[in-house]
Subunit: 134 residues, 2 copies
Amino acid sequence: MEWAFADDRPIYAQIVEQIEMGILSGECPAGSALPSVRALALEAEVNPNTVQRAFLELESLGLVRTHRTSGRTVTEDGELVMAVRRRTAQGRVERFLADMRSLGFDAAQAVSLLAEAAGQQGCSVLGSEPKDVR
Amino acid sequence: MEWAFADDRPIYAQIVEQIEMGILSGECPAGSALPSVRALALEAEVNPNTVQRAFLELESLGLVRTHRTSGRTVTEDGELVMAVRRRTAQGRVERFLADMRSLGFDAAQAVSLLAEAAGQQGCSVLGSEPKDVR
DNA sequence: TCAATTGTATTAAGTACTTAGTACAATAAT
DNA sequence: ATTATTGTACTAAGTACTTAATACAATTGA
């Protein structure tokens, strides 16, 4: 993992998101070990307290389990992981549509632009006048 | 405008974004007047200093002009507005693709999910196993 | 001319995030 | 048993964001 952080959001929140994504995408399989608080703090070059806070949130989400003195592991509840993944994906989709609507692109145009960027065909509507979708 | 703010990002940044979107979408036409610092502070129920800071950033973006004692107006540089709109839209598209990739969806699946949510047809891949796209 | 409105500047205080440094309890490994 | 590693807890300090409360300069408009 790279552990690069933007400065427009708390670091602990970005650690939560990056680990969560690793779990949801299957990069960190169910039951696999996570780095210790101190090890991750060294690797990501942040304070141990910040890592601790991130882990606490991941536990409250149910995605991570703590074993008193033998570190943390990814949850083995595959159902939960899949449910969170579905919900997160749905949220991203809706946020994208809302963002594009704010920019004056309707849903069909958003799909076109995405398909185009995804390497599929599609004529560009990027230069078109904004639609009034309010 | 509604002026609702999330608590995970500075308020001034959210004001910048909402006004910027209004300009980029054409809701606030070129040359149109913007509310005064005090008026917007009242309307959005935030401190005038916070509004002032947001306006300063909009000016540095070139989207807003200040007239010493007669308020602020949207820039009349239509070329700039369109350029920013294109760049912003492209950024949203790329962020969405990156987010979906982190969740284990490839570009084609991202397009499918978006088309589905946009009201068009398309079979759901939301429940599928994550693809390893790293 | 005069009052109101506008942008702007300043100081002070409170909260959240982050870092630094230290310490303790529990358990795994030797 | 002893050592090392783990999670956890705590205090202190610095920075950024926000609010509050004023104040001043410039210009508009009656």
